[in-house]
Amino acid sequence: MATLENVGPVFISILVVYFLIVLGIGYYGYTKTKDEADFLVAGREIGPIVGGATLAATQMSAGTFVGTVGFHYFTGISYIWIWAPLWMGWIISLLFVAPHMRRFGEVTLPDFMATRYGDDRANGDYVRSISAVLIVIGYLVYITAEYIAGGLIFTAMFGVDNTTGIIILMVAVMVYTAIGGMRASMLTDFLQAVVMATGAIIAIPLTLNLIGGIGQINAIFNSFNPSFVGMALTPLQLLGFGTAFGLYIAVSPNQIQRIYSLRDEKTVRQAIGLTFVFQAIIAIGVGMIGVSMAVLYPQLATPDVASIILGLDVLGPVLGALVIAAVLSAILSSVDSIMITSSSALSHDFYAMIINPDASERRKVWAGRVGVFIMGIIPFFLAAVGELLGGLVQLIIVLQVSMHAGMFFIPIIAGLHWRRANTPAGIASMIIGFLGVAVWHVSVEILDVIPTPFSEVMPILVGITLSAIAMFTIPYFTGKPSRQSLERFFDVSSDEPENSTGVAEDD
């Protein structure tokens, strides 16, 4: 197996040029960042093409280029079908979430939670704090998965040990994100989505040529493992994975912050349409790469290194460097945007809203940068216990998306479309959804106390069911939401006047 030492100067030159461009974009972002809105939502100036690419690049990370390729390598082509329920999540977002959120037009997801579920006698601050903490917990799990993937890549490329690989990645991402903010993150995403799509398109004919065509793949697997080109995963399993990703995509704190960065509602709709184009190309690319690598290298130590071996050993210096750049880009692009979202939860929703409401713009930007460093360091230690979170990169990411979907899907959809949804229901739905996922994961994967067949139920299904029960029962035992919490989302002009506490009279 090749490492970076013996791939030649052309390969290394292309990698170096690529990352110089990325650093240049980071510096450009730094020079353009004047205030908190610039750092967190890029001044709300992003158009549909960059927006569509950035939505795709943010969604697709090491989870896609390392984890999904690895899962295809391990199970075959049928895993490609998880994209269909995942895209249903984008359709839910297009119809019921994204344009409404852009119209609301704040900075972070906790801003929404604090406004819509703001009847907590603290002007929404309790709700803001709870949602910010839960976002950060979920994203610590996510960054851990990315670090583990990055460690594998650096080990394969440089021959360094896993911990050193993770440290290199951690330092690079923290410095880059802390300097550039959201504008640099989104421009880099655009470049990375184009590189990923181009790499995937060119890699398919090259690998097929090496193998001898699709017919040859069918012939090889039909002889000893037909499910690899048939259906290795049951429709129920695909639906379980896809549901976790789909529900998450519809309400992802990270994607919602990207949506706040887009120019207007029309741009949001166009960007979601364009993101399908990027994603379809990349989905077919990663599927074919995984399947082809199973033919070319059937004995890899871990499925998660399939894409990196493809770049180093199979594709030649130019395309190989492009694919490696795409994989590293995927990690960089996702971790930096996750760090922005999480650091904004810490700086905007904790520091600026609760601890120091009078902070200057400059102080808030620096609080965001400190948040980036906090979010960068904790996952380094979590990576040492990655097995408890699921082990394989793809499974750790499934845990994170399940946590966020469990806590936010119901409160956001209900908050935007059901006037009766009130603050007690919003808080309970969020916490119970999160706990449902976390407790079920721990009970099944760590404590092993749930018997079969119940242990096959995915955590997201438990979390989302409990969250929905809380949301749709509690409002009938508690008061109506106040006019103030509804007025930015519903027409309240014909509502009854409120009582002295600011809460509308109950039926």
Binding site: I77, S78, I80, I91, L95, I217, V229, A283, I284
Partner: protein, 54 residues
């Protein structure tokens, strides 16, 4: 099932999603234009009526 069946089926599904997103975007745009036109017509009518009264 063969590999190409998955790929063709998946491509068809992807095209479906892209077409839906495009059609929805156009539909909303058309509705917004119609709403805007109605508002403009109503404001012109109101202005004419108030001139008539004065």
């Amino acid at each position: 099932m063969a590999l190409e069946t998955h790929l063709l089926g998946f491509s068809a599904v992807a095209i479906g999603f892209i077409a839906f997103a495009y059609a929805w975007s156009k539909y909303v745009e058309k509705n917004e234009q119609a709403d805007k036109q109605t508002e403009e017509t109503m404001s012109v009518t109101e202005t004419d009526e108030s001139r008539g009264e004065s």
